[in-house]
Structure formats: structure tokens, C-alpha cells
């Protein structure tokens, strides 16, 4: 097994393990959020192995560095502790079972479809995954979706500010 394959399996295991841990730490929110950070970082490692360097960097800068830090900020601000969550009600337990069944079924479907979903593997184009190539694509071919997304996010920010301000005033 080459170094890349070894790294891939190690990172894949780590990301799966931490993703399950994130769901598992229902009552310790901080541990849950930190598990999500580990998932994000190991996914970034997998992106690097795939040659998508820009996506990997952005994965860490935006998700691990900004969004999840914001999550932690909120958790600390609310000061959630383990005993803030009551014991599991029986109805919840039923939901848990349903959740496990549904996600297992979903997983089976994905695994079955995966071989057909992959396009024919060819050599990567020059500059694949680099910031220059991605940047040029984003600002020529995909400029309309990018700008639309920007507009939507701006609207969301303005809306959030208005909603929050009303509560303060």
C-alpha cells in the first residue's frame, strides 16, 4: 500500500469515526462540535490527496476556522453543560431507531449507486484544483451562480441583522 492509499484510509477512518462521534456526543455539545472540527480537517486532508488544494484550504479556513469557531462561540456563550439536557424521553428513543434504520438504508442506496455515478477516470487537466483555475472558472463560466449565491447570502445577512436588531430595540 502506497503512502497516498495509507493516508486516504487513515483520513477516511478518522472522518467517519469523528462524524459518528459528533452524533454520539449528544449531551456534551462541545465535544460534539470538536468532533465535527476533526471531521472537517480529515476531509480537507482527503481533498489534498485528490489534488483539490483550493477546496482543502477553504475547507479549513471557512469551515474549521470560521463556522465551527462560531459554533463554539455560541456554545460557550450559552454555557451549555452536560446536565442541561434531560434524560432521553421514550419518544426520542423511537426516533433514534427510525434514524438508524433510515440512514442505513440511505447508505446502502449510495453504495449501490456509487460505481455508476463516477465518471470515466481520465488524467486530470493541467492546473486542476489550483486557485488560478478555479478562480477563472468561477468568474467566467459560473459567474451567474456565484453572484446569485452572493446576493442570497447578503439578503440573509441583512435579514438576520434586522431580526436581531428588533429584539434588541
Amino acid at each position: 500500500m502506497g503512502v497516498e492509499a495509507f493516508l486516504f484510509y487513515a483520513l477516511a477512518l478518522l472522518s467517519l469515526f469523528s462524524a459518528v462521534a459528533m452524533v454520539g456526543f449528544v449531551r456534551n455539545t462541545m465535544a460534539g462540535a470538536l468532533s465535527l472540527v476533526v471531521t472537517m480537517i480529515s476531509l480537507a486532508g482527503i481533498y489534498v490527496l485528490l489534488g483539490a488544494h483550493l477546496v482543502a484550504a477553504i475547507q479549513i479556513i471557512v469551515y474549521a476556522g470560521a463556522i465551527l469557531v462560531l459554533f463554539l462561540f455560541v456554545i460557550m456563550l450559552l454555557d451549555l453543560r452536560t446536565d442541561d439536557f434531560g434524560s432521553m424521553r421514550p419518544g426520542r428513543r423511537l426516533l433514534k431507531v427510525v434514524g438508524v434504520v433510515v440512514s442505513t438504508a440511505l447508505c446502502a442506496v449510495i453504495v449501490q449507486l456509487l460505481p455508476d455515478a463516477l465518471p470515466e477516470a481520465g488524467p486530470l487537466p493541467d492546473g486542476f484544483g489550483g486557485f488560478r483555475d478555479v478562480g477563472i472558472r468561477l468568474f467566467t463560466e459560473y459567474v451567474v451562480p456565484v453572484e446569485t449565491a452572493g446576493l442570497l447570502l447578503l439578503a440573509a445577512i441583512v435579514g438576520a441583522v434586522i431580526l436581531a436588531k428588533r429584539r434588541i430595540d
Binding site: 462541545m30 465535544a31 470538536l34 472540527v37 480537517i41 480537507a44 488544494h53 483550493l54 484550504a57 477553504i58 479549513i60 479556513i61 474549521a64 476556522g65 470560521a66 469557531v69 462560531l70 463554539l72 462561540f73 456554545i75 460557550m76 456563550l77 454555557d79 489550483g130 486557485f131
Partner: protein, 382 residues
């Protein structure tokens, strides 16, 4: 290949972390003493030899290692023990992309003095910088202490705010050099430009020959002076040292997020800060101060000057030595400069820190990007 990587990593570990970081604690003590008209660290001695107080870092290490490692009651033990390590690791791995020397040709083999020569070097540094927030956050949360928690909260808020602005403040630099690769940026800065060259653009065709001689090194600090100031401010705020030490704020929060730490784990937080000082100095040097380049003497000029006497091989080796020395000198100057700021300015108020980030630096750095783009369009560099 593997040997080269190991050698480069060893150089960084030995020089930048092993030698520089302890010496910085000494520099900080001595410099603060000079600035406050004191004598400073001079008590630690071996058989009466104090060596200008240089033995203090050694005494520190012995003291920190021999102290009890306390985990407070009710703390999350695992996270409490992990936090200092999480704080140190991003600071150390950031060194991987900082070029402490250029690219040299020895016959057919090319030697590049950077451990990881990646295209997205600057993004990598931002990524490690954003991970650096976690050490303080986890420490603050896991200590089961309200002061620590407040320190952690302040840490997160400060990190998120300055992360954005820091990224925007260097956009100008990578527009000018057209790359995110730190080695290429340093190579691009290994030249000079005519200060009055812009006169030709605005209509003066005939330039006096004397003006033509006025040249400056093609360094980021001369091309992006505003970018330099903003980046310096933001990265110092990210490092959480005074005047941006709100997460520690000893007059309000006792010691903030590392209040409940003792012994070497407490020392690790300090180590992370000092290593970050070196990283910042190296980054500022690579982006704005020409990296390893000797001002007015480009690599070809140096090699061409020594070559007739010593031959190409030896000349290249000498040039390499000169470049590494220049880089380390510039790094030392930037460390000194950071210490100067740290001991000159009092701590900001919290709202001042946030206003500075969102209301002053953010709009100004956006304006800087716009202005840079206009100038580049005007001189046809884009």
C-alpha cells in the same frame, strides 16, 4: 528527496523553534527592561556567570518542567490536557511554507530552501492560523472557570473578526505578485523598481537620468504600504499579545483562558505565542520585506560577482548562506519591532478592538484592493 525534507525540517526545528523561541523570551525581558529604564533579567547564574541574563530561558524551562501539573476539579480532563498541544501545533506547522532561502542551481539539481513548496502557501498559512484559535477556546471552556470561559469567548470573537480582515489585507499583495506561492513571491521581490517610473505614465516622456537612478527594492512594503500596516495589525491581533491581549486581560480576567494551567502546560501556551511571533516575523519578511533577498543585490549579481574567484558551485553556496543570513536578520528585526509595539502600547478596550477591525481596517483594505486593481489596470500589469 526525503533527506532534503528532513534536513530542512531539522533546520527549522533547531533554528526557528529551538534557538529563536527561547532567545525571544530573553529579548522580550531585556527589551522591556531597557524601555522601562530597568536592568532586566540578570539573576540566573551558573557559578556566578550570568551571561547577560541569557541563562533565564534555561531556568524557566527547569522551573516549568518541575512544577506540578494541576487539573482543576470539574474540568473536562481530556480537553484540559489537550488544549496546550492544540495551541502549539498550528504555530509549528506554519513554518513548513515559509521560505528562508531561494532556489539554487547546482548543475542539474535544483535546491529550494523551503520544506513544502506548495502553490497555495499563503492559504495554508491562513488555514493554520485559523486552527490556532482552538487551543485558547478549548482551554477556556474545559477549565471549569468563568474567567477562563470569558477569555475563551473573547478569543473566539477576536479570531473570527481578524481572520476576515487579515485575508483581505493581503489580497493586494497577491494581486501585485500574481501568486500565492511564497517562494515565487520572494523571487519576485529580488529586484528593484524606478521610484519615478510612474511619471512616464502620466505624460512625462523625457525623464532626467538622475531620477532614473532612484530605485527601491521591489518589496511588498513599498508596493503595498497600507497592506503592510493592516496585515501587521491583524496578525498581531490574531497572536493575542498586547495591545490585543483581551483574551488574557490580566486586570479583568486574571489570566483569561490559561488561568487554570500550571507547569509546562502553562509554558506551552507561552511557547505557542513566542513561536507565533517568529512565524509572523517570517511571514512579514516573506510577503513585505523581500524574503531572503539582499536589497539592490539580486541573486544573479551576487553569484556573478563571486564566480570568477571561487567558481559557480562555491559562489552559489556562499549566496545561499548570504540569503539565509539576510532572512534571519530581517526576521530578527521584525521580532524586535513586534516587541517594540508590545511594550509601547497599552491594551485596547474590547469595543475599540472590534471597531478597529470592522469599521476601520475592513473598509480601508477593501479600498486598498480596489485602488491596487485600478493602478494595475492603468500601468497594464494585469
Amino acid at each position: 528527496m526525503l533527506l532534503a525534507v528532513v534536513l530542512k525540517t531539522l533546520f527549522i526545528v533547531l533554528v526557528a523553534i529551538g534557538a529563536l523561541a527561547p532567545v525571544i523570551t530573553w529579548i522580550e525581558r531585556k527589551q522591556s527592561a531597557v524601555m522601562q529604564d530597568r536592568i532586566g533579567a540578570n539573576r540566573a547564574d551558573i557559578a556566578g556567570i550570568t551571561a547577560l541574563g541569557l541563562l533565564h530561558p534555561l531556568a524557566d524551562v527547569i522551573k516549568l518542567l518541575s512544577k506540578e501539573d494541576v487539573v482543576p476539579t470539574g474540568a473536562n480532563r481530556f480537553m484540559h490536557l489537550m488544549a496546550p498541544m492544540i495551541a502549539v501545533v498550528p504555530a509549528i506547522i506554519a513554518f513548513a511554507v515559509i521560505p528562508y532561502g531561494g532556489v539554487y542551481q547546482f548543475g542539474a539539481t535544483t535546491v529550494s530552501l523551503v520544506p513544502a513548496d506548495i502553490d497555495w502557501g499563503l492559504l495554508y498559512l491562513f488555514a493554520t492560523g485559523s486552527l490556532a484559535a482552538y487551543g485558547g477556546v478549548i482551554a477556556g471552556w474545559s477549565s471549569n472557570n468563568n474567567w477562563s470561559l470569558l477569555g475563551g469567548v473573547r478569543n473566539t470573537a477576536q479570531m473570527i473578526s481578524y481572520e476576515v480582515t487579515m485575508g483581505l489585507s493581503v489580497v493586494g499583495i497577491f494581486m501585485v505578485f500574481g501568486t500565492l506561492k511564497l517562494t515565487d513571491m520572494a523571487i519576485a521581490q529580488d529586484t528593484t523598481f524606478r521610484v519615478f517610473g510612474f511619471l512616464q505614465l502620466i505624460g512625462f516622456d523625457e525623464m532626467p537620468a538622475t531620477l532614473d537612478w532612484v530605485r527601491l527594492p521591489y518589496w511588498g512594503i513599498f508596493l503595498q504600504p497600507l497592506g503592510f500596516i493592516f496585515f501587521l495589525t491583524c496578525i498581531m491581533a490574531e497572536n493575542k499579545r498586547p495591545p490585543f491581549d483581551m483574551p488574557e486581560g490580566e486586570s479583568e480576567l486574571i489570566a483569561g483562558y490559561f488561568l487554570e494551567y500550571s507547569g509546562m502546560r502553562f509554558g506551552l501556551f507561552y511557547m505557542a505565542e513566542f513561536i507565533e511571533v517568529v512565524v509572523i516575523a517570517g511571514l512579514l519578511t516573506a510577503l513585505f520585506l523581500g524574503g531572503w533577498s539582499v536589497p539592490y543585490l539580486s541573486q544573479e549579481m551576487i553569484i556573478a560577482a563571486i564566480e570568477p574567484v571561487l567558481g559557480v558551485g562555491l559562489a552559489t553556496v556562499l549566496c545561499m548562506g548570504l540569503h539565509v543570513t539576510t532572512f534571519l536578520l530581517k526576521v530578527l528585526v521584525m521580532i524586535w519591532f513586534q516587541m517594540l509595539i508590545r511594550w509601547s502600547l497599552p491594551r485596547f478596550r474590547y469595543d475599540q478592538v472590534m471597531d478597529l477591525c470592522w469599521k476601520i481596517i475592513l473598509p480601508l483594505s477593501l479600498a486598498n484592493i480596489f485602488a491596487t486593481a485600478l493602478v494595475m489596470l492603468a500601468i497594464g500589469a494585469a
